[in-house]
Symmetry: C2
Subunit: 464 residues, 2 copies
């Protein structure tokens, strides 16, 4: 190992090789709670593709695994370190190489922060839609590696839809270029999409060509409060089947409503069982579309509907949704006051028609396992995040949390759902991936992993 550190120090610039124990600890894990992690032997922060190649070759020769990391905002443990591994952090590869406004693409290094790219392309009159919750800190490389989602997906899709091409350093140290910079192209196997979402197990992404869109029209926004989750689910189904194209269709359950009111009182009715937040960005049709969605919510039994009359009010309505995570963290801290509150953040997507049944099922599971479970999610996509609140210092509470997690997975898959809508597999969902795709699917995964990384150098133990 000392040899490897010496070699890494020789091939990388000053300051790019970290061995300070405090810094190693910083790079142990992403934001997934209650998922195992190890301590790396060394953390490297290359700045160029050539430096990544040097790292991969050095690690391969030493037989030491590599764990690629972005901003470590992931929620499935995909970036969690392995004891003795090389953590390859891409955060110093943070250059926006090119923005082409006519051909509508940008070329970026993987360490560019999502919000930085969004701002840079907005300055060119364009838009990079993907907006994971972590967008102000997460990197494009991490977004691509996990195929990150966000609130925009109901209309604009997940990260994969915006990745036109990649540069990837393979386990062999060779540099692969995939995809294209043209608007259209179908040459050969879609290697680009194979690497998107592969969580660093097939190669290290060193450059990304992302497709851009015209700037969106201003959004009009409403919130609707429902007396039952069934009524909220019915409203989502009616909006989806009504031919509307909401740019946002989010759900908060009663646990979240109460937690948000406790964190920052906004006057939300906490007797409501669910809140829907909807937005449209359909230009001159937006006012009409919003009025129709309002009518759909009322017809589905909404207790109250508030439509924002201007952008300031719309931002107010969005604030409740944005407070979901800090509110649940405060709720966890209040529930287990010794600082031992932990949240298992789950992520499941079900057919939209199964939304209400899924919400009811989660409520029953919370009662059965005697744990608070708050649900927030991208209702328009059928993508829910049940947040299971446990006492991390109480093994029984943690065991019940894991039991509830498994029960939620089982319920969702039984409804024709998938074990991850946007957070990815990492370590958290490995068993459930196998449940979902079965032995043939797993065998194909292993065959591809074996073909591209025969010595299992790259992020071993994740996904497959």
């Amino acid at each position: 190992m000392a040899d490897l550190v010496t070699r890494l120090t020789a091939v990388l610039p000053d300051g790019a090789v970290l061995t300070d124990p405090d810094l190693l600890r910083v790079h142990q894990r992403d934001e997934a709670d209650l998922v195992p992690y190890g301590t790396p032997a060394v953390v490297v922060r290359p700045r160029t593709t050539a430096e990544v190649v040097a790292v991969v070759r050095a690690a391969a020769e030493a037989g030491v695994p590599i764990v690629p990391q972005g901003a470590r905002t992931g929620l499935a443990g995909a970036a969690n370190a392995i004891d003795g591994a090389v953590v390859l952090s891409t955060v110093a590869m943070d250059r926006i190489v090119e923005i082409d406004p006519i051909n509508r693409y940008a070329v970026v290094q993987p360490g560019v922060v999502n919000a930085s790219l969004a701002a840079a392309v907005a300055a060119a009159g364009l838009r990079y839609p993907p907006d994971p919750g972590s967008w102000e800190s997460s990197t494009i490389g991490g977004n691509v590696a996990t195929n990150a989602g966000g609130m925009c997906c109901v209309k604009y899709g997940v990260t994969a839809e915006y990745v036109l091409g990649l540069e990837v350093v393979l386990a062999s140290g060779e540099v692969l270029r995939t995809g294209r910079r043209t608007a259209k192209g179908v040459a050969g196997y879609d290697l680009t999409k194979l690497f998107v979402g592969s969580e660093g197990t097939l190669g290290v992404i060193t450059e990304v060509v992302v497709g851009l869109r015209p700037a969106a029209d201003t959004s009009l926004t409403l919130i609707a409060l429902f007396p039952t989750t069934a009524a909220a689910g019915a409203a989502v189904a009616a909006i989806s089947s009504g031919g509307y194209a909401p740019s946002l269709l989010e759900l908060l359950d009663q646990t979240h409503l109460k937690a948000i009111e406790a964190l920052r009182p906004m006057g939300l009715r906490t007797d409501a069982k669910a809140l829907l937040l909807a937005a449209v960005d359909t230009g001159s049709r937006a006012a009409g579309d919003l009025a129709e969605i309002e009518a759909v919510c009322t017809a589905a039994g909404a207790l109250e509907v508030f439509a924002a009359t201007d952008e300031v009010e719309a931002a107010e309505l969005l604030r409740a949704r944005r407070l979901a995570h800090p509110a649940m963290e405060k709720f966890a801290a209040d529930t287990y006051p010794e600082g031992s509150g932990g949240i298992i953040v789950d992520d499941i997507a079900v057919p939209r028609t199964a939304l209400a049944a899924m919400l009811d099922g989660i409520e029953k599971i919370a009662a059965e396992y005697a744990l608070p479970i708050g649900v927030v999610g991208h209702a328009g996509d059928g993508n829910l995040h049940p947040n299971i609140v446990v006492d991390r210092l109480d093994p029984d509470s943690v065991a019940r949390g894991r039991g509830a997690f498994d029960e939620i997975m089982r319920l969702g898959l039984g409804m024709g759902g998938t074990c991850t809508g946007e957070h990815g597999v990492g370590l958290l969902k490995k068993d459930w991936l196998e449940q979902e795709i079965g032995p043939v699917g797993m065998a194909v995964h292993r065959a591809i992993k074996g073909a591209l990384d025969p010595t299992r150098l790259l992020n071993p133990g994740k996904v497959v």
Copy 2:
């Protein structure tokens, strides 16, 4: 071989095994001209996944390759038979299994014709956008296997964007299910997209889950005629960078204009060097968007612009575009009157900003190789189809045609383009795929092919 036919006859229903030499000849090739093909030993038309499994197992045991075929409307020879192979035609697998209007997906067998699916989902108030030129006869399985494009792509993308999941029979005879039926999902490697566009080289697609969209608004349409290709290219760049989202942005060059006027006089100005056809389907904004696009065309130097005032007139304008292929066939027949006229249909995509330079380059190549080359294409995507007209009975003419084809490929790749925008690799573009993606890209293709089809049973010699 007799043994294999006996076994296939035993495992398939009556009429599903064809050995009549006339029928074998019918199944020799797709619509790619001047691309090699062989004669299969037997053609099978299974109706179920279980029957496909039986065919794959029987062929594997006999060591005989399988060539999957849809409606044979492909333009790259990907479905061309190999001497002595089993042709596995999916045309009898033509059931629409399910249409779910709320969750917005349909489940279909691969032999369902694109137009049949489009009609069925339209009856449910929804839309399946992909519209390859062959949509009235080509099958969804073939569309998926080649990742087919069409005129809608400038706004709605290629087939891949609509494939949520697949059922695939692997070379081992195992049945793989990929993807999902939910709106969103990122579980594991994106095997779905790996099979899309793999042209039958990795597995036989036996079921497809396609995502659906709300019905589109009525389109408004215009045509604009330009004195130079540079002016037309400038208009395309201005429309693309202006934030418009045309639902169609097509180009016809002067050769096509003249050919169309010769086939069916429509009063088009044949002194124009290029025609652009644009449409918008932006609802209540459409009229304003169309007027702005008209102004952009005029500012770019259009000789004339005609906007359709109603749907009948819009259909008239579309007719010129739809006549492109038959008009060029008549042109080829008129040019080489002994029935020996052949067309090498090319397919290249370049950055939109390179459109005008590409058109000029093709004109120079036509002069250099002394052959007529008509260009039609999806200008909004930078995707052009140069149609090289040769005398197929004159080896020198065919050789010049191939020379012009290679020259066009070289020019396009040099501009940052891709060797195929939507027709695929098949046999026609194999050498150019290698030029485009290089040795590392090819090695990764071969590694994946080897991992999934180690005995090279499935469509050997195509793509890789």
